[in-house]
């Protein structure tokens, strides 16, 4: 992906940050995007310190005009846009008893609306280039998790979007794939040492995931090496998915 222009949406969270660092190491030109400016600047400082060609833009992604304008600016500046990673990930932990239509709509708005919005703005550019890589970060929790109904449903939506986009864009040199993360230890999901030990013991590989595990997979799907892979789910979960149907 050397000299490819990559948009990392959700770059301020731990996984988006690890993806940024990984892509920087592979020589991509990076545009880091998040709605949380403070956190974004911290990640950006790390990536820039590693000598990456990078910039960061804080975007209020709930506002579709702001997304369009950000993408326009980037395309004008670089003349190309090769890679889009959608790494936004917001669990809400709302149990059924506290769920409302508002919590439901908020979850979809936070997790899915920006993914759709960035994709719709980026795809015409990729179509013109006859080249593109879209990588969506999903979660194995789409299979259903107590107190995460909203999040689980939002992550399920990534299936239909990924596969439909993939089929619709298959002849345009654009691949669209999904990474499903398993139990990954991040700043957003802090765990006590006991919780971590218990979680690790339940996985076939006996350890929890790291953001870097996801970043490694994203780098492959965003690279020129995966040109015949589209519409797929790459599950990075230490083997947890084996216990479940709907995972092959």
């Amino acid at each position: 992906m050397k000299d490819r222009t990559a948009l990392i949406v959700g770059a301020a969270n731990d996984i988006g940050g690890a993806i940024s660092v990984k892509f920087a190491g592979r020589g991509a030109r990076l545009v880091l995007i998040d709605s949380d400016q403070q956190k974004l600047e911290k990640v950006f400082a790390k990536v820039a310190a590693a000598g990456a060609k990078a910039e960061c833009i804080a975007v209020d992604w709930a506002n579709s005009a702001a997304v369009t304008s950000a993408v326009d600016t980037i395309v004008k500046k670089y003349g190309a846009l090769d890679i889009l990673v959608n790494a936004i990930d917001q669990r809400d932990g709302v149990p059924i008893t506290e769920g409302t239509v508002e919590t439901w709509e908020r979850s979809l708005k936070e997790n899915i609306t920006p993914l759709v919005s960035f994709s719709l703005n980026v795809i015409p550019v990729m179509r013109n280039q006859k080249y593109g890589r879209i990588v969506n970060i999903g979660s194995l929790e789409y299979l259903g998790t107590p107190k995460q109904a909203n999040y689980s449903a939002a992550k399920s939506a990534i299936f239909g979007l990924t596969r439909s986009f993939a089929l619709e864009l298959a002849k345009d040199g654009i691949t669209v794939n999904q990474i499903l993360k398993g139990d990954v230890k991040t700043a957003e999901c802090p765990l006590s040492p006991e919780e971590e030990e218990k979680g690790a013991a339940q996985l076939p590989v006996q350890r929890l995931g790291k953001p870097e595990d996801i970043a490694y997979a994203a780098a492959y799907l965003a690279s020129g090496l995966s040109g015949y892979v589209t519409g797929q789910n790459l599950i990075v979960c230490g083997g947890k998915s084996i216990y479940s149907s709907m995972s092959a």
Binding site: A166, A170, S226, T230, G231, C237
Partner: protein, 249 residues
């Protein structure tokens, strides 16, 4: 992709097609290569080609359906190279036909090569991987495991390979061995070039991308799973099929 310096890799059925391409890419990254096939002239030729490029390589003619031949092969590989870190169960073949036309021999041969062979090789190799604290097994299944008219033995065998993948991933996960499975779609082979254009177009019409894949696409996917950085990925079925697995019909 990180180097594979010093790693020892056994790739079955690697005297032709995607197995050979995978072996080539592994060798270029510094792995020591064990070429296996059932056809001895092809093994000799591949070993010659690899030696000429300065790769560390040995060839073993063995039928992977035979326990003793597999054990012998693994023993000689470990004697020569000291260990075995990587196994790619790639050897495969197909006897196809409508249900009523298939013989017991068609079934046995197809299931033995595609499924039993992978079982025997994994069994013979895994102890060496555990001894070294880890390893990588990649099985080459097929998108056809989802089912294909006229493909009863092949589809069944490849579906079995998926079950084997997931089971061995569970058994070997705590030992640092990952086990994954690649499901190729239609990949360019010499046979493809010999098909009449009408038949080729018929196949292409069912490819979302409108094209078939190349050996290189499979080799790239195998390399992805073999990397040290892929240690959190196990038990997966990964389709390299140009989106064909999404497509009904």
């Amino acid at each position: 992709m990180a180097g594979l310096q010093g790693k020892v890799a056994l790739i079955t059925g690697s005297a032709s097609g995607m197995g050979k391409k995978t072996a080539q890419r592994l060798a270029e990254r510094g792995a020591k290569i064990v070429i296996n096939d059932i056809v001895s002239e092809k093994v000799d030729q591949t070993v010659q080609e690899f030696s000429a490029q300065g790769f560390e390589v040995m060839g073993v003619v063995a039928d992977i359906c035979k326990t003793s031949a597999v054990q012998e092969m693994v023993k000689s590989a470990v004697e020569r190279f000291g260990s075995l870190d990587i196994l790619v169960n790639n050897a495969g073949m197909e006897r196809a036909g409508a249900l009523r036309n298939l013989s017991e021999q068609d079934w046995d041969l197809t299931v033995n090569v595609n499924l039993k062979g992978a079982f025997l090789c994994s069994q013979a190799v895994h102890g060496h991987m555990i001894e070294k604290g880890g390893g990588r097994i990649v099985n080459i299944a097929s998108r056809a495991w989802l089912g294909g008219a006229g493909q009863a033995p092949y589809s069944s065998a490849k579906a079995g390979l998926v079950g084997l993948t997931r089971t061995l991933a569970l058994e070997l996960g705590r030992k640092g061995v990952t086990v994954n499975c690649i499901a190729p779609g239609l990949i360019h082979t010499p046979m493809w070039d010999e098909l009449p254009e009408k038949n080729r177009n018929g196949f292409l019409a069912k490819q979302p991308m409108g094209k078939i894949g190349e050996d290189e696409d499979i080799a790239n996917a195998v390399l992805f799973f073999l990397d040290d950085e892929a240690s959190f990925i196990t038990g997966q079925v990964f389709y390299v099929c140009g989106g064909r697995s999404l497509f009904a019909g």
